[in-house]
Symmetry: C2
Subunit: 75 residues, 2 copies
């Protein structure tokens, strides 16, 4: 089964990567780009029967740094 | 308006980051993790009226390396 996990920096945490993308888009002539946030998208191919709680544990222990990142599980 | 762009490595392109995550999950005792792919999730706050074609241009010119990455736009 394919499970998707989105990991984004929490609001208020500086995102230099996103800021660099915003700046580069402006330099390329794209107008109206207000804010850019860049996160991670992790696709896991897991054994059938894996529970959401197990995926949550993976996020808490490895996939996300919960001090500065939030995550969302899609299964 | 918030537009989301997902950028993933194309199938067949080696994903060392995803492989490292898969290995680390195994080392942490999580079983049944077959394959992991890691991509980017980019959230753009764009001016109202920005067209999908404009976002596609941003992807082609900056956000994705279309030789090895595919992208998907959600608006």
């Amino acid at each position: 089964m394919i499970v998707r996990v989105e990991v984004m920096l929490k609001d208020g945490v500086l995102d230099p990567q996103g800021e660099a993308v915003r700046h580069a888009l402006g330099a390329l002539g794209f107008e109206g780009v207000d804010r850019v946030r860049q996160g991670k998208l992790i696709e896991l191919d897991l054994a059938e029967g894996t529970t959401e709680e197990q995926v949550r544990q993976m996020c808490e222990k490895l996939l996300a740094n919960t001090v500065i990142e939030s995550y969302r599980i899609e299964m």
